[in-house]
Assembly symmetry: C2
Homo-oligomer: 409 residues x 2
């Protein structure tokens, strides 16, 4: 049995008319012995609407209740899409996260998938049905509904593709592939035909919104080929797959930007071993992912520690840090919300010298001050003032991906 998993995002099922269009598209994908599973997000705006209601009720809604609330959005779109596919004349059946067997951890609003059984989906496919699956949600060991965090529907799709041994996971969205930068910021940005998991992962983490980084990681670990395409526009899209020798190793594949992090600085921290461990262990307890970390060279027995966390975890992180303030001898916390992280990503970086220097010079040429720096094998990120974010992306794209060269087509 050959299976493909298709995932449609919120704008793709944003209204009834679009749901009908998606239904027709899904039915067309069934060919010969090929079976189709569709994973669907909540209708565009629905999750934000529900979140807004929760915030009207209380400043700090309980995470377990939030999950029950938010998971309802996907149930609506899933039921409607299953109806629409049936109305096209092809049998279809809906499944919730629980019915599909998406077993997760109990970290509400940010649960991780532990196992996917997929039993009922397999049965439906065997019966000649199209399986329509609610994305973004699962069930924890206590039989409570969990959600996988923003972009979680991508993760559902990839995890299901892996569990079913699907030949492909197609991610339908409102853009027609993965670009070298956000075309809204850089009009000359170019679409990739193909990109490696590693580069896609770094780009996603760096802020490219087209794919959620957890889903790319899952795809990479389970070798599920991902095809990113536009829902309402024909095109080849971008294939995210294994890097191979034939892929030319361009220095920089893409430039990305992220405004969803904030910077904390602990000032006057005692400059002795174990201090950083204390701070970051405490933050980890709250399941907050710290992104960039910089510790200054100590002076007079004191030092500063700066780090960034996702904006959504601000309250949680601050609460944790405050618990250890006195024990690490810190003088205070300061918080900077007006920051952005710009990153360049490329597998070719590994074998090219001076990439970082070129990046810093490019930023300096526009008088953009660098607040923090972090690097990985194939990525360099700089934290800068938020107001320069778009300018920085454009100058970096011009530097590393000038119109005539660079991106493979």
């Amino acid at each position: 049995m050959s299976v493909i998993v298709q995932k449609y995002g919120g704008t793709s099922v944003g209204d009834i008319q679009r749901i009908k269009q998606v239904a027709a598209k899904v039915v067309k994908a069934v060919k010969g012995s090929r079976k189709v599973v569709v994973v669907v997000s909540a209708m565009a705006g629905e999750t934000d609407k529900l979140l807004g209601m929760a915030r009207q009720v209380t400043d700090r809604p309980d995470d377990r209740e939030l999950d029950l609330l938010l998971s309802s959005g996907e149930r609506v779109s899933t039921a409607l899409l299953a109806m629409a596919i049936s109305a096209c004349g092809h049998p279809a059946q809906s499944f919730t996260g629980r019915q599909v067997g998406i077993e997760t951890t109990s970290s509400h609003t940010r649960a991780r998938i532990r196992r996917v059984t997929g039993e009922r989906v397999r049965k439906a496919l065997d019966e000649g049905k199209i399986a329509v699956v609610a994305g973004f949600q699962g069930i924890d060991p206590f039989d409570d509904v969990t959600t996988l965090g923003r972009g979680g529907s991508d993760t559902t799709a990839v995890a299901l593709a892996a569990a079913l041994g699907a030949e492909m996971c197609e991610i339908y969205t409102d853009v027609d592939g993965v670009y070298s930068a956000d075309p809204n910021i850089v009009p000359g940005a170019r679409r990739h035909d193909r990109i490696s998991y590693e580069e896609m992962l770094e780009l996603a983490t760096a802020g490219a919104k087209v794919l959620n980084n957890r889903s790319v990681e899952f795809a990479k670990n389970h070798r599920v080929p991902l095809l990113v395409k536009s829902t309402f526009q024909e095109g080849k899209g971008t294939l995210v797959t294994e890097a191979d020798a034939e892929m030319e190793r361009v220095v920089v594949t893409g430039v990305a930007c992220d405004k969803n992090h904030v910077r904390f600085t602990l000032t006057g921290v005692a400059d002795r071993p174990g201090v950083a461990a204390t701070v970051f262990s405490k933050i980890a307890e709250a399941e907050v992912v710290v992104d960039m970390i910089v510790q200054n060279v100590g002076a007079g027995g004191c030092t500063d520690i700066s780090f960034t966390v996702p904006r959504t975890d601000l309250a949680r992180a601050r609460e944790q840090v405050e618990k250890v303030l006195s024990s690490v001898g810190a003088a205070g916390i300061s918080l900077d919300e007006d920051v952005a992280r710009v990153s360049i990503v490329g597998a070719g970086m590994q074998s090219h010298w001076g990439v970082a220097a070129r990046m810093f010079s490019a930023l300096a040429s526009e008088n953009i001050n660098i607040l923090m720096i972090s690097t990985s094998e194939i990525k360099i990120s700089c934290l800068i003032e938020r107001k320069y974010a778009e300018l920085a992306v454009r100058v970096l794209h011009d530097t590393f991906l000038p119109p005539a060269e660079g991106v493979k087509e």
Copy 2:
């Protein structure tokens, strides 16, 4: 452990402000060792909105998918109410129909409760929490979501009250009790302090909207006292309970009206044994409840059969009837949608003569023609032209419940 179950309808949780008011009310109900379970409907208008979306997708949405769709409404209100109660400082936990263990038949959109385990609710109560339960929904033996039909949240509340051995099931709604007629139609209608299960059951079946007849039947069978009260107005409400000797048996307790039935007439049906059985067995296969049935005296080997079914089952009933048309030798089907059923209900009817005659005379005095008649021990119903519905209710209330006498206060 003393437990009360409170149920709040859609208008009671119609917006965030009201949800907060309900939360405050629920917290107040916890006193000493008394535990509180709250069953909640979808926010007012939500179920209709979802149904409207389904109808935009297809004329005949699949029932299983409808159930997934509709059940999402109660999940939203349940999560929000649990958050609101927690925000009032009292621990609360939400439960879906499945988590409560509301096990139902597989008759989607009209499932019947088979069993209620209530295990997790008991545990939450033991832990000092208020349990907030999504009404209207359950789970069938195939692990699929089911809904209990309109008014199903009342049934959830009563079933849960029975399973938990609750001392009382309080139904909070937008009216302050059970009236002798709809006060919107009969301004002089009076509230009952107390009414028997049997009378309430007949009134509910006859169209009194304040309680769903299945929930009353459940309460009667499990001897759960029901208290019907207004959510946003203080008052004694109406207690629905066992009839006892002290209750004065008034002839007529209430007048009700129902516009949700349509009349089918099969003309020229063969006048031989088994014909009615064939027709109504076929209809029963589709789980349509037939209300009134009249078969004319045969003439020339032929007869007519008329019957009423709920408007929502019109398409389903017609389909079934068409399957047997030729085998019962019917000349045709005619359909009358412009009908209403007016009923008078009262335990005292059993011991009073001439009640039916008085009813028919009252209708005749306003020139209202009677199309069909049906009677039970404590109810008489007449099908009339729809346009006379309100007039008929008023004239019957004037006849049987004139301002000076009748209803117990």
